[in-house]
Amino acid sequence: MIRFEDVSVTYDGATEPTVQGIDFEVPEGELVLLVGPSGTGKSTILNSVSGLVPHFTGGTLRGRVTVAGRDTRTHKPRELADVVGTVGQDPLSHFVTDTVEDELAYGMESLGLPPHVMRRRVEETLDLLGLTDLRARPISTLSGGQQQRVAIGSVLTPHPRALILDEPTSALDPAAAEEVLAVLQRLVHDLGTTILMAEHRLERVIQYADQIALLPGPGEPLSLGTPAEIMAVSPVYPPVVDLGRVAGWSPLPLTVRDARRRASDLRQRLAQAAGSRAAGAARVGAGGTPQARASETPPTATPTRRTWFRSRITPSPLPSPHAAEVQALSIHRTPTRALTDVTLTLTPGETVALMGRNGAGKSTLLNTLVGLIPPTSGTVLTGGTIPHRTPPHDLIRRVGLVPQEPRDLLYADTIAAECEAADADASAAPGTCRTLVTDLLPGMTGVPDDTHPRDLSEGQRLALALAVVLTARPPLLLLDEPTRGLDYAAKARLAAVLKTLAAEGHAIVLATHDVELAAEIADRVVLLADGEIIADGPAADVVVASPSFAPQVSKILAPQKWLTVAQVKAALGAPGPRS
């Protein structure tokens, strides 16, 4: 269906090809997952299927790409629109019209299908994707999962034979991701659609893949194989595969179900290992004190942890024992109440993961803590002051928030200017922010100072925004959905940074859908539903009890309370006397 014949792509102005020697075929009716670290050219490969590379982007394509027998050299993207549907990373920049129904019809209008066919296909697609109740709604009022389904629906209506998806679930909460993936599976099974999809969150998608195409590194050749084959050699892998490697299982398990079947042996070993250790360390991570956790879980991807910070970023001293206190907080926003009777205390050195569905009130709570939203009733104190009454230049010394879109914090047009501005805003010594950037992301030294912040990769931009916020040394650090669009390596780096910050006494709150990240770094998990706190306790207790927020490791090893592969590794690495 989709054929790459020895393809290389070189963009204008680039000396090296972005991808080279790509040679593979996606058979009809299969779902093929394209995996690899960031910056290896996954998007280039995806976009050359629809012909956007090179017709839209410019550049040179060597070799040949064909879809359903059509050669992209002779067919422009618009002439492939009836055989390939492409959905990019950000559904919002995909939409041309403003209502669901019009959006579903837009592609067919461009192709010139007769009105009665359009009408029927719109109805079919609304049913297929479960969008019937939303047909007349403005797209901007939909949730992320609904928007993603509309984006998929809008390319399905012309009945393409192949679908190209670039990270369709990375911005979604687990439930919404399930919705989208269920739709994709239905397309493959019922309609025989061919799907080529790139996704960082392998733990969500790997069980749906028929084959995996792996791009191990920039410029390296692509290899195609069954998920088990590829996972054995891949540099990126989900926790279940990691656990399988640690436990030495072969073939590697790909789903929680596979792994559970084999895990009885591992559970036993772990129980023995745990039993042989002191009682305090037995329930690793289960409510352990922050200090204990910070010392016991070595980050997987960062052996050089102690060199993270050349200068310790000690938070400025606090006038109150709590980093923040929230008492009986309610926020009303027409037509719904966003938060109801929320009470929460944050202590220095503690890492709290705020979890819950999209729209549960996570962002609202974070925004209240920095004074972006005044409370309707109840009190909020951050660092001893009322945030929405504190002047901004004073507030940033008490609390810092990295918003969902780190770009919102960046105004200047070079990294250097951004850092100077941050120093000035925080009245910090010149150079503070720049040093922080390099500390947070040693790779950033290679990036010229006059780079535009918008030209950075997601991980680099997050590091820059984090550095800007940390320049004022706030004792309370808030992060909204920090792992959006990050690959495993960038996520591991972020986790390591946050652990160090917590060890230095920062209180950290992250609102996240990423259960694996929460499991790795959170001491405490607060679950929000419909604006109310429904669970608040040690990470292990809260997430293990929740089917949708449990990390893969805890699902596999339940009822034992293990959260991350690192913990398991550490426990096995200190074997008891009998093993």
């Binding site: 020895d6 204008d12 090179p54 839209f56 550049g59 394509l61 060597r62 040949r64 050299r73 535009h452």
Partner: protein
């Protein structure tokens, strides 16, 4: 950079439409008292409003035909939305209309063809957004189109940068913002019936007399407004100009409007 290339047909259509536009605006001074227009002075502005709608549509169709690629259309839509969103910002306060500044800079960076189209589309979109479609709309579309196109026709589009360019744009912005005000006044003036006021157009009056009346009409209705708008454009050009120019140039580079597409065999 010339994002929308105007072919000979588009240029011909644009010239003819502009000629009719000039007549539609300037007829009170151009038409002798014995002409048909002057004889039906109360109906003439309506005739021209209707005629201009048609002409603007025809020009738009001609420009569309000579090739509006997806990149140009998306950028047109986004910039027009920005312009339309900026327009109500200054509606209450005398003449603070940042839209003019954006039009000058976009016309400069993206070329005269794009400028003309952007000016027209922006006025149309903002009229639709605010529910402000009226007999003034075709005149505004044409005037704004000329305004942004003029910025694209300024000399040194490829070489001139830095301070000199800013001064050039500011001077143009000042004059053109004023001219825009005068043009819209000219469009609205004949609606004022001749016998109703001393500053209204008098079909049987002499040209100097009508000029004097028009001048007083401008002073009485919109001088403060026009001056505010012109000054606002100048101030914005000097303060935000460099950054916005950089942003626009960067965006056109990223959009790869002119980059070559090549294929090589294996």
């Amino acid at each position: 950079m010339n994002v929308i290339h105007l072919g000979p047909r588009s240029i011909a259509a644009l010239t003819l439409t502009s000629a009719v536009g000039v007549a539609a605006l300037g007829w009170p001074f151009l038409a002798p008292p014995r002409s048909q227009l002057t004889a039906h002075a109360t109906d003439a502005p309506w005739l021209f409003a209707g005629l201009l709608i048609l002409l603007v549509v025809v020009v738009a169709a001609t420009i569309s035909e000579s090739g509006l690629g997806p990149k140009a259309v998306a950028m047109l839509g986004v910039l027009a939305a920005t312009g339309a969103a900026l327009r109500p910002l200054g509606a209450g306060t005398a003449g603070i209309e940042p839209m003019f500044f954006l039009m000058v800079l976009s016309g400069r960076v993206l070329g005269p063809g794009f400028g003309f189209t952007l000016g027209g589309v922006s006025m149309f979109a903002s009229a639709l957004l605010t529910g402000g479609v009226g007999p003034w709309m075709p005149f505004q579309m044409l005037a704004m189109g000329w305004f942004a196109m003029g910025a694209g026709l300024l000399p040194g589009a490829r070489r001139l940068r830095g301070r000199t360019e800013l001064v050039l744009l500011a001077v143009y912005g000042f004059l053109a913002a004023f001219a825009y005000g005068t043009i819209t006044n000219l469009a609205g003036w004949p609606f004022l019936s001749g016998t109703a006021s001393n500053i209204a157009f008098q079909p049987d009056g002499s040209v100097p007399g009508n000029l004097a009346r028009f001048f007083l009409y401008c002073v009485a209705t919109s001088l403060g407004w026009d001056l505010g708008r012109a000054l606002c454009t100048v101030v914005l050009t000097f303060t935000l100009g460099p950054a916005v120019l950089r942003a626009l140039r960067r965006a056109t580079r990223r959009a790869a409007f002119e980059s070559a597409v090549t294929f090589e065999p294996r």
